[in-house]
Each structure stands twice: as structure tokens, then as C-alpha cells.
Amino acid sequence: MEHTVTYLGFIPLLPLLGAVVIGLLHMFTCKKTPLPELFYGALACIGPVLSFFLALVVFFQLKGLPAEDRFLTHNVFTWFAVGDLHVDMGFLADPLSSLMLLFVTFIGSLIHIYSVGYMAGDENFGKFFSYLNLFLGSMLILVLGSGPVVMFVGWEGVGLCSYLLISFYSKDTDNVLAGNKAFIVNRIGDLGFVLGMSVLFWAIGASGFDYLSLKANVAGIPPGVGVAVCLLLFVGACGKSAQIPLYVWLPDAMAGPTPVSALIHAATMVTAGVYMVARFSFLYAHYPVAGSVVAWVGILTALLAAIFGMFQKDIKKILAYSTVSQLGYMFAGVGVAAYSAGIFHVFTHAFFKALLFLGAGSVIYALHHEQDIWKMGGLKEKLPKTYMTMLVGAFALAGCPPFAGFFSKDEILFSALATGHTGIWLIGVLVAGMTAYYTFRMIFLVFHGTPRVQESFDHAHEPPAVMTVPLIILAVGALFAGFLNLPGIFGGNLNVSHWLAPSLLEHHPHVSVWFELLAIATSVAAFAIGITLAYKKFGQGATEPEFTGFAKFGYHKFYVDEIYNAVFVQPYKAFGSVISRFLEPNVTDLHIKLSTWLYQKAGTAFKVFQVGYVRIYAIYMVIGLSLMSLFLSQTIK
């Protein structure tokens, strides 16, 4: 069976080429006569759209193959080979990566189009699209990489683009600090990734360091080492996908332009950690201990972020915490070995969260960069398209049947329950209720009731079609994507799960229909309670409350940022100062100081003999000559 196809490499290459071309054009023209925006916009959209069509080709080609044989490879060149370590710049398309490929290129293209409208008039329009293309190319390398090292290339590439785009408005120090924070926290995760990769290599990497070879040799790995690899890799996932304790960068990342928040910090990059765990399912499936750690970290992150989300007043921060929370769900899913459920939630989440962010972008655009939900209200008359599409997104996020989020979230919760993780399931249901509450708190405050700031309300207007059409397309996705993986109880047959099955190592537990119905009923009830509470509190115009007690604590995110600052950042800087001000000049070169001191002392000691009297020197001479004669007489004899 021939699996090599030579077009896989083009999928990431096209956006990367776009990035280089646009970047060069912008670099050389930005100071003289900037090129027209439409030109940059069109150039930027070519790569993503072509990649999307190639992704479709990949999908249909895979579909034509028998299920167990569904993979395509393309080894472009040997990247580096040292001793037993052999790394190809290779790409692998299998059911898992092809699904990721499809939605990444699809949503990526839509957001490129949307950005042409959103970024209009920005002096760095070209730079923005160069970064955005670079991001998409890196993301596609991440998804398509045939082994962990190639994945790491994309992994770091998206991290770089995330940094560049968060600090895009770089004249403002806070934005740059947010970018630095994202990069540095991600690097902490990357340390885990690199160490995990290295340990994995020394365990089983010698006979091929790509997924297919690793999967074949996984039996040779000692159990303790296996768990270590899983946990180290998960540290990497925590960094990229914003899980406890490394989640702190994502809310700050909202400093970037809103399309960036939608694409990078909601739909694609932040789900890379979940993708990685699913990619390594052949490893994680063998170590339930590691899986449990993943699941618990995930569900606790979901809970924590949901708490924070309930008290925020910046519309993008609310969505950011909801992203962290949903990512937690995904990890709970892959943690309990329901890999396809986790990945399916990645898929649906990409639609509804990108939709919500782009919708928020439209609101922000319409209100001239107002992000405080307590300064909005009644906008549904002014922005009907935005309102309707965001409403769809909100229902999907809150897990209302039959919207996309309901099916995917339910599948995760049900899997947790069915595999005996009752605690995770209970927290999951609680978080579902909280999600419905904070989502509709946002919807009610922004679109319902009466305007809170009349002036900005009067000037609000629906954005141009280039922005609303992507919203409508995403809304369709958020509405219907769930049906792709309809479980048996609703008359479906888990199409996505079956599609993913050859890539993943998972078993579907069989349980009774009543059990399943009970789980569904609980989820629906949680949604209903959440939305009711939100309506009671915010449905008919509410005024901004003074935060006290727990609400204040939640609004300040439990002061975690302040604690990290006091425990890590300040001591780090202080330690640097101590080294350069005290240790370096006084302590570290003690051995040098000691030898110069000895040298000087020796000089002083010998000075004693230099008395300056000829008679004393004559005595030295006599002593010397006598000793020499003695020595000579001894040796000659």
C-alpha cells in the first residue's frame, strides 16, 4: 500500500509563503507608500483558502481508503540525523490530523476574511496579515507533523505568533507585557515538552522517532518511564492550552486584536495541548494514572475559570475564561481516555467560540473599542445580525440542546461518568450550570435591557458584510456541527468517533440507555438552572453592582497573578540583581581575589630579604655558594 503523497507539505507551506511575501512587502513599503489594504487582504487569503481545499482533498482521499489503512505521509527531507536520532521533516495525515486540518483551515480562512474588515485603517495592516499567515502555517505544521519534533516546530511557531500578535499594539506597554507573559509561560510548558520528548527518545526512539514507529514500539517502554513521559508532555499541554497552573497568560492575551483572540486564543492554538494528548493516545491509554492527572487538572481548571468568568466585566475576558474552562472540559475528556469526545469538543468549540469572539469583535468595533459589558445594553436593535449569531454561539457554549456544544460536552461528561470518574462528572455538571449563567449574563447585559451609555449606543452600527458573513457561516456551524457525532440514543451513530477510531486508542464503555438518559437530563437541568438565574439577575436591565466578599475575590481572580508576581517574578528579578550587584563583584571571583592576594603577600614576604645592605647580600651569596658546593660534592661522588 503506497501512502506517500507529495502535496501534504504544501498545506503548511502556502500560508508560510504568504507570510514571507507579505512580510517583505510590508517591511520595504511601510515607511514610504503603504500598499492598498485590499491587495494585502487578497494576498493573505490565498494561502489559507488553498490550504483548505487541499485539506478537503486529503479528507476525501483518506475516506477512500479502508479504515485501518487510513494514513498518508510525506517526508519532505531529512531534517537532522545524529546517531540513532533520525528526524524527518515529515507530515502525516490520518483521521485525527485530517479533522484538525479541516476545521483549522476552514475557520482560519473565515477569520482572515473577517480581519480584512476589522483591521481596516490600521497602519500595520500588512504586518498583521503576515503574522496571521505565519500563525496558520505553524499551526498546520503542528497538526500535520509526523513526529514529536516536527510538532514542536509548529508548537513554538504558534507560540511566537501568539506573542507577536498579543503585543501587536506594541506602543502600549501593557500589551507587550501580556505578550511577554504568554511567551514565557508557554516556554515553561515547552520545557516539559522537550524533556518529555527526550525521555521518550531514549526509551524507544532509536528505531524511528515518528508517531507511527513510536506507536509500534510502545510496548518496549518501562512503566515508570511511560508515566513520566506522559506527565512531562502534559506540562507542555498545560502551557499551550492554559491549564492550572499555567493558565494565567490566556486572559491577558486578550490584549491582541479580536480576530487573533478568536483564531489563536480560542479556536486553534490553545487546543493544541488537547490534540497532543490525543496524538499520544497510544501512550496515555496505557497509563490511567497519568490520564487521571490530566482529567483532574482539566476539570479543576474548568471550575476555576468558570468562577472567574462569572465576575468579569470585560467582554473579552469573560470569553477568555470560558475558553480556559472549555479547554478544561476537553482535558477531562482525553484524561478519562474518551479521546474522540475531547477532540469532538475541540471541533465544536472552534466554531462557537470563534463565533462568540468575532461577535464580540463586532460589538467592540461598533462601540469604538468599548469592552466593558456594564457600558453596553440594548444592542440587539442596533446589531441584529451580530445579536442573532452570538445568541446561537451562546446557546452552543452553554450546552443547550441541540446546539453543537451540547453534544460534545455531554459526550465528555457521560464518558467521565461511565468510566467511574464520578467526581469529575459532578464538577463537570456544576461547571455546565455556571457556564450557562455567565454566558447569558453577558448576552443579557450586552444586547438586552436599555442602553447604559446612550452616546456610544447612538453611534453603534452593524459592521460591513465582510465581517457579518463569516459570523453567519460560523453560526451555521455552531448550530449543526453537533449532529456530526450524534450518539445512538438520538438516532445517530457517532460518525466523528468512528472516523477518529483508527488514530486513537479508546474503548467505548457500554452502559444502559437509562444511565445515558439520566446523564443527559442532568446536563439539561444544569443549563436550565444557569440560564434562569442569569435571566432573573440580568434579564431586565441591571445596574453594575459593587463587588464585595467572594465576588470581589472572584473578580480579582483569587489574586493569582499577584501571588505569582510576588512568588516568582519579583524574586527572579531580585535574584538577578543580587548576582550582578553583589555575587559577581564580590563573591564569584573569590578564587581570583585569593590568588592576587597571595601573590601580593608573597611579594611582601620576600621583601624582608631585600634589606639594601651589601654585607647582607654577601652573606646570601656565601650561603648559596656553600649549598651549591655541598650539592655538587655529593652528586659527583
Binding site: 512580510g23 510590508h26 517591511m27 520595504f28 511601510c30 515607511k31 527531507f77 531529512t78 531534517w79 537532522f80 540525523a81 545524529v82 546517531g83 540513532d84 536520532l85 519534533v149 514542536f152 516546530v153 513554538e156 511557531g157 511566537l160 506573542y163 503585543s167 506594541s170 506602543k171 506597554t173 507587550v176 507585557l177 505578550g179 511577554n180 511567551f183 514565557i184 516556554r187 515553561i188 515547552d190 520545557l191 522537550v194 524533556l195 520528548m197 527526550s198 525521555v199 527518545f201 531514549w202 532509536a206 527572579y572 528579578k573 535574584f575 538577578g576 540583581s577 548576582i579 550582578s580 550587584r581 555575587l583 559577581e584 564569584t588 571571583d589 578564587h591 581570583i592 590568588s595
Partner: protein
Amino acid sequence: MFEYALSVMIFLPILAGLTLFLFPFSDSASRISGFIVSIVVLFLGIELFLGFSGSGAMEYAESKAWIESLGIRYSLGVDGISLLVLMAGAILFPMVFTIFSTRSKGFYANLLITQGAMIGAICATDMVLFYIFWEIMLLPIFFMIGIYGGPNRLPATVKITLYTISGSLLMLAGLVYIGVSYHEQFGRWTFDIVELSNLKLSGGFAVLAFFMFMIAFAIKIPLFPFHTWLPDAYTEAPSSTTFVLSAIMAKIGVYGVIRFIVPIFAIELARFAILLAFAGVIGMMYCGLAAIAQKDMKRMLAFSSASHMGIIALGVFCMNVQALTGCLFQIAAHATSTGVLFLFIGLMEERMQTRNIADFGGIAYRAPIFATFFAIAMLASVGLPGTSGFIGEFLIILGAIKFSGFIGFLAGTSLIIGVCYMLWMFQRVFFEKSGEGTEKFQDLSLSEALTFLPVILLILAMGIFPQPFIKKIEPTAQLHIAEMTMMAQKQLADTRLPIVVDTHQKN
């Protein structure tokens, strides 16, 4: 002609330098002639690289009897260990002649002599010859810092000179010990490094001689805690000299360890590897932390350079193919990233008359091309995949994990430490609002852009297509590790010393 390529690369710059000293050239004429000489060396270097077969053995070898009574020969050669160091010495020099405003004749003469001596030290396969070039190398550096340096140049010059001279004297003593030991064991004199690797040294004297060599190289690298000359010297030296110091001279220290200590003192190295590896990682962390507290950009970069050298040196002490190859690759990669950053800072200093980080800001808006180039070099310096910096760092960390999990973990923290100070500096210099001073900051001129473009492309090429480079150095690394393993095992049978050597890999 090509069989004497190495001799030409050594003596052409030295002779050119001496000619400049002796005859009344004008400053700009000496700049131009220096540039021409460095271009000739560059082309010879590229020819040599392309013609290098990567067999693992010495290529382009030359050997002539010199001081026959002591078996000292004028012998040169290149193998995988020296190839990339040699490339750094051969191809980076033209840059320092094209940028910056013209300096005096003596400065260019000194630069040329430095280049010749460095290439000599890299190519020498006779230890005495190596030692001679090693010493000559220091002289022009002494003058360049002492005469052309910054305001605090004199203490810095005294410090670097005393430091390196004491190291050299220790090495000389070690060299005599080795020569004499060889004479005792084999009944004839030689200082050929291949012959010398047959020596069987043991006991306290061997350890002593090992440390004599090790300290000499440790000072040059510099390895913690022998680095304290570096921040002053790097900061006070003219930027082109700092570039030469960090891009090439520091690498010759690491190269010396691989070339001389690994084959001759394999046992001692294996015994003390863990100690030296700790010196490497602690130096990396210590200097990396110190870097964040610096207010002077050049001083920050000096600490950063010392920090990277810790990791590069670690690559030698891990004693497996991956780490050693990574180290050899990183030697060249680091020259293209941190070395070039020193030149960039020199340019900024020339434009702004200051190196204070706080005086900058918003340069990215004033000078987009410069900012892009700087960013690429910076990203290579923090080891981003796709740039030259990643491959070496990754291989060293991978190898370190094999050597010792804990050392590997500490080495891995360089991923974090590097970005902390680099991003913060980048933020304050290139982002944020532009101050009064940076309002008129000029972007790169055409000649400056053309000077840097090849190196920037090299950074990307080495990151995306590293295999053509690795292919040439890896066989020698394999051979080196294999020999060392064999020797260590032989000794292991006799002495049962606790030796940590990678003996598992079949190749």
C-alpha cells in the same frame, strides 16, 4: 594551490596585518585592504566547506618538519570537530570591515592578525603549534581592547590578559608534562595529537595535568566560575572585537576541550564530567539570571553569551554523539546569533551614542528592517525552531538527559531563562513609545543591510536545513565518542572507576 588552503588562510591575514603596521597606509585604505583579505579567506573557507567530504578523518592536511629534535611539526588539518569553528572564523570577518565608521589603521591590522592566529589555532594538529597560535591570538585582542576600547578599558584589559595568561601558563606546564610522558613511554618526541592519544596517563599527575589544560580552556570559554573577566572585557571592547571574542575566540576554548582533552585525558574527563557539567549548567543559569538585571545592552548580551557558552560546554561533558554534535553545531549557530547581536548593538551605539536600554524605545516603528533582522537573530539566540539556535540546543538537552536526568532538567531551563531577559530587552528597545533619541533612528543603509543579509539567511538555513552541516561533523563526533568509550572501557576493566560514558549506542 588548494592543498595549502589552510596555510593561506592563516598567513594571508597575518602578513596583511603586519604589512599594514609597517607601511604608511591611510585608515580607509587599510579598511579596504582588510576587507579584500577577509573576502579571500571567506571564499577559501566556502570552497573548503564544499569540498569537505565528512569522512571523519583529517582533511586538507599539511605537515612539515619544524623543530625536529623535539618532534614538533608544522601540521594542519580539518575534521568534523574543527570544520564549523573554522567556518565561523573564516566567513564572519568581512562584516566587521563593512559596517561601523572607519577606525584607525592599527585596529584593522590587529583584526587581521587575530583572524590569522585564530584560524591557526583551529587548524593546528600539533600541540605546540596550537599553543603558539593560541598565544598570538591574545596579543591583538590586548591591543584592541586596551587602545580602542571604552572608557573603562584599562582594568578590563588587565583582567582579561592576566586571566588568559595564567591559563596559558598552566597549559604550557601541562604540555611539557605530556611531551615528557610520551617520551618516557615511547622513547621519542612528538606533539602530534593523534600520536598523543595513545598515551596512557594515570595517577595524581595525570589529574593535575588534566586540570591544567581544563582551567586554561575553562577561562577561554569561559566556564563558571572563571567567567568574571568576560562582562568587563565584552562591554569595554569595541563592538567588532566583542563580536570576534564571542563568535570565535570563546568557541576555540570549547574546541580545545574536544580536540585535546577528550582524546588524551578521556579517563580523567569521564571522572570529572559530572562536576564540569554542573559548572556548565550553573554558569548558564547564573549568567542568565545576571543578564536580566543589566541596564547596559552590551553587558546584558555579554552575560547572555556566557550563559550560552555554559550550555555549549555541557555538550562536551555529556559524552554522547547527540550532545557532542549539538555542541559542535551550536558553536557555529551561536556565532551567527549572539555574535551578530553584538554587531547590531554596536550599530545602535554608533547611531545613539548610548547603550542604555532605558534610552531606547519604539525602534520597530522607525527601523522595520533593522528590527526584523534583530528579531531573527534574537529568536535564534533563544533557540526557536526554524532558526539555527534550536538544533544545537535541542541535541545538547537531549544528550544531557541521557547523561543525567537532573543535569538535563537544569539545562532545559535555558529555554525559559533566555526568553526572560531577551523579551524584556526587546520590549524596552524596540517596542513601547519612542523617546526623543530614537525619533530619528535610521534604518539599515543598503550596505549594512547587504552585510547582514547573508548571516540572517544563514541563521534560517541552518535552522531549516541543518543536515548538510550535521552530515559533515557527525562522523567525527561518532569516532570521537567511540574512541573515548573504548578507552574508558579499557580502563574500567583495570580500575573499576565510576565512569559515566554512553556505551549503549551501537554506532
